[in-house]
């Protein structure tokens, strides 16, 4: 259901065509990274650290080199030395020395699973056998895996050359705290003085994983002409190319990255892990080398989202107006600096008007894999803290939780604590839609049942996108794009070009092509593809339209200025032809018509959503069942509503898993104890109900069709919504996430005994 939009405005946008890559994906023909086959292909495997923290005293690969089938071995020593060089990767920057150290450790291993060496052999089995022959001498060191422990002065230190950067000042001593961020608006002291009710709470969340079903995989061929070709499963072929080139210190143009179909990413397939290692192995053995991660390695050695500690305080007047907020956020970054604390700080108070607020954030290193983005990175944690307290305030003030949120909702002109002032945004519309929904209006009866709501915010970044379209002799259009398609973006991009040209969606044939075949395009992330690549194809369409008009003038021998176009029909005087028929004629009288465009929208747009959860808690076991769930979100303009709904539903269910079960469970030895899909418990079909959706459409003024990215916002509210629902069901406030059955059962027992 779509609210607040004029569906008749568009012919293609808002319809639900079958996705262009659909047939391949339901017949098993789509080629994902692991499906790549090349002549002479050999297999690479990685030796990983058994310790959470240890010095590497020596690595001896001599016996492995002699093992059956072995063609090459590489260690960290094979990578060029990279001293603190920063590479801009569009969505964030990365220090190449740290990235290189993460790919193959040098003098220290910093987490269990940290890669130490790699082998290429004729078969995968031979490569695995050879790993056992590599002799690594370790000196184990004490490990730390909880963020507050890692911040202590006497904590095991991961890097002796990293000092805390606190707003430009460097700490004297090295520290596990890499960065201290501070944002402030208004006068918080004065603000809290105006408050009639102040609530301050602490929250903890465990590390969680993106849980993409396809493990990381890459195949590299370092050819005899010096060119490096990589087939990989990545969210950004150009950023994979750049990272690989920079790590190997070769020009980007020497590298071609071929993006295969990608089996989920959610932020976790932006950083490279295997590509440069496979490249080094291929350079050594002269054969194409394929490397596939195990599921265990995906958990232990890729990029989960941070574990966190948060302390948040919010004050409101008895009339229900928020007057001040204060947040202390400590997010773990994993083994290297640069976690998700920045967006966490920006998002914590982002849904409401806070006249006075202060936020302090800490980026903390510890002996876990380097954290990476996971769908709205950092925002879900912060929303748990803010939205739980908002819920408590509403209760204290005897206000309906949606009503209280409406009284304080961010809107056009609201200044976020980190500075930006919102343009037109759709939070109020989302809250209104939630309030009016049949779900919220329905009554929830029965013991141990409760309803929770929460709101959430995430950015839509712009960044660089390019596209090229060729008009074919039959009037159909081939579209080449660089945005890897994780969730149906071929459809949403092709539809925007079809709309611009006035042709049917089926007449645009999109292809995601390699880095030699289209202009530079940033990652599929930041809820940017339908927004920014959509802007690129809009420009492509306008350029094609302009050429078509000129050519029509030639064909009809009329003044170019007399040719006009409306709804894909070109006309001048008595002449009139629809796009397809005109294109067929033009093909005979001139060269091919091609349109290309490259865009780089700056700043960010804004996506808001609200979610409603009904749960039932089993007091005997602490198990939470989700009875009903509704996701409300401002999509600006839904291009393909089914895939917008899909993003909303998928994000919400990931968030439900985060709320209830998912966690990296660490032992005292710093080792993850549940690195499998059996023990790291993601939601199954049996764990969730149908996920209802309400698409709100408040057009984005920054986009020709009003698009707002929808990929990430849906994972922001669920943890808070579920915690609020569990409270409504049980009277227990869960502030230690996940609310797994043992934890909730214990909390219920404590409540019972008190």
């Amino acid at each position: 259901m779509a609210a607040g939009s004029d569906q008749k405005k568009y012919k293609v946008i808002g319809t639900r065509p079958i996705r262009p890559d659909g047939a391949d994906k339901v017949t098993g023909r789509a080629i994902y990274g692991a499906d790549v086959q090349l002549s002479g292909l050999v297999h690479g495997k990685i030796l990983r650290s058994p310790h959470a923290h240890a010095k590497i005293k020596s690595v001896d690969v001599s016996a492995a080199l002699q093992a059956a089938g072995v063609l090459a071995v590489v260690t960290g020593a094979d990578f060029p030395e990279l001293k603190d060089k920063i590479a801009q990767l569009g969505e964030g920057a990365v220090n190449l020395a740290y990235l290189s150290g993460n790919l193959l450790a040098r003098d220290k291993v910093l987490y269990k699973g940290h890669a130490v060496a790699a082998v290429a052999a004729r078969t995968a089995n031979q490569a695995e056998e050879a790993l056992k022959k590599i002799r690594v001498e370790y000196e184990p060191l004490p490990a730390v895996t909880w963020v507050l422990d890692a911040m202590q002065d006497d904590a095991p230190l991961l890097h002796d050359d990293i000092h805390t950067d606190s707003m430009g000042n460097q700490s004297e001593k090295p520290s596990n705290i890499s960065t201290h961020l501070h944002f402030e608006t208004g006068d918080v002291g004065q603000g809290f003085k105006q408050a009639d009710v102040v609530i301050e709470r602490e929250f903890k969340t465990a590390s969680v994983h993106q849980g993409y079903i396809e493990p990381h995989v890459a195949t590299a061929l370092w050819n005899t002409d010096g060119r490096l070709k990589i087939w990989t499963s990545t969210q950004g072929s150009f950023t994979a190319r750049q990272q690989t080139a920079e790590l190997l210190q070769i020009p980007v143009s020497q590298v071609t990255v071929v993006p295969c179909e990608i089996g989920g990413g959610f932020g976790g397939k932006i950083s490279v892990y295997l590509e440069p290692v496979a490249a080094l192995l291929s350079r050594k053995c002269g054969r194409p080398v394929k490397m596939t991660m195990t599921r265990e390695a995906c958990f232990e050695a890729t990029g989960p989202t941070p574990g966190s500690y948060m302390r948040v305080k919010i004050g409101a007047t008895k009339e229900g107006k928020i007057v001040a907020g204060e947040a202390y956020l400590a997010y773990d970054a994993g083994a290297y600096p640069g976690g998700m604390i920045g967006p966490g700080c920006m998002c914590v108070f982002s849904c409401y008007e806070f006249p006075n607020a202060v936020v302090d954030g800490y980026d903390v290193m510890l002996n876990k894999p380097k954290t990476q983005a996971y769908r709205a990175p950092g925002a879900t944690h912060a929303a748990l803290a803010c939205e739980t307290i908002i819920d408590e305030l509403a209760e204290k003030l005897k206000l309906d939780p949606i009503e209280f949120r409406l009284m304080n909702a961010a809107q056009e002109g609201t200044r976020r604590v980190d500075g930006p002032v919102y343009p037109r945004v759709g939070l109020i519309e989302c809250l209104e839609a939630a309030k009016a929904s049949e779900h919220y209006q329905s009554s929830l009866k029965g013991p141990n049942r409760g309803r929770g709501v929460a709101a959430g915010f995430w950015f839509n970044i712009g960044l660089k996108s390019a596209a090229t379209a060729n008009v074919n002799a039959d009037g159909c259009v081939t579209l080449l794009e660089g945005s890897t398609d994780i969730g149906g973006s071929r459809a949403s991009i092709a539809m925007q070009l079809a709309e611009t040209l006035g042709i049917a969606a089926e007449d645009v044939h999109p292809a995601v092509v390699d880095t030699d075949s289209v202009g530079y395009t940033d990652v599929t992330g930041g809820s940017r593809v339908t927004f920014a690549t959509g802007m690129a194809v809009y420009q492509v369409g306008r350029k094609i339209r302009a050429q078509m008009m000129e050519r029509a003038a030639e064909l009809w021998e009329v003044d170019a200025a007399s040719v006009s176009e409306a709804d894909g029909v070109y006309s001048s005087g008595e002449h009139s032809l629809p796009f397809k028929e005109l294109a067929v004629k033009l093909h005979e009288i001139g060269g091919p018509i091609v349109g290309s465009a490259s865009v780089n929208p700056q700043g960010s747009s804004n996506g808001f959503g609200v979610q409603i959860a009904d749960v039932e808690v089993d007091p005997e076991t602490g198990k939470v069942s989700v009875l009903r769930y509704t996701v409300i979100q401002d999509a600006g303009q839904a291009i393909h509503p089914s895939y917008v709904e899909g993003q909303m539903q998928g994000g919400a269910v990931q968030g439900i898993g985060w709320a209830l079960n998912e966690e990296y469970f660490y032992g005292d030895d710093g080792q993850m104890k549940n690195a499998s899909f059996l023990d790291y418990r993601m939601p199954t079909a049996l764990d969730v109900p149908m996920i209802e959706t309400i698409i709100v459409e408040v057009p984005n003024p920054e986009h020709p069709f009003g698009v707002r990215g929808v990929g990430e916002t849906p994972i922001v509210p669920p943890v808070a919504a579920m915690a609020n629902a569990v409270y409504a069901a049980t009277g227990v406030r869960m502030r230690d996430i996940p609310m797994s059955p043992p934890k909730l059962w214990k909390a219920l027992a404590e409540k019972e005994s008190s």
Binding site: R16, I18, R19, D21, G22, A23, K25, V26, T27, G28, R29, A30, I31, Y32, A34, D35, Q37, N125, Q210, G211, Y212, I213, E214, P215, E261, I262, G263, G264, G265, F266, T292, T294, R295, I486, G487, G488, H640, S642, Y643, E645, G646, Q649, G650, G651, A652, V653, Q654, S676, F677, L678, M682, P683, T684, A685, L686, V688, M690, I691
Partner: protein
Amino acid sequence: MTKKVQVSATVNGETVDFLCEPWQSLLDVLREELHLTGAKEGCNNGNCGACSVLLDGAPVNSCLVLAVEAEGAEITTVEGIAQNGQLHPLQQCFLEGAALQCGICTPGFLVTAKALLDQNPNPTEEQIRFELAGNLCRCTGYDKIIKAVLAAAKNLQEAN
């Protein structure tokens, strides 16, 4: 070194013979020897269902089946669901209902759902959720998958 074993089986209606190591999984042989890469490896320990195939009509995680166990068996992979260039109603309903996003789990869901509908042409939502609980999907939240299976069941019943 162990010797390779010769195995004869029927895969997607065709008789095939292959050589495999005694320790090789059926998934490995399907993908690497028979070049049927529709079944995917997501975990290699039977917890994600991306490698689901039908073994004599019953869904199995092919990563947990030894290839030698396939001797004499009838195997159906996702490549064998469409017949004569015509999509199975499940495939059609997955497309029409946008029941896939990244698509990596889709082959496993289609195969498992086919086994369900072959056994129970008119399943309830709860039965579908139960039968598909061994297949993980991280993109969709399952909603559109369940609806696609319900729609396919309806289409199949109307066609019969």
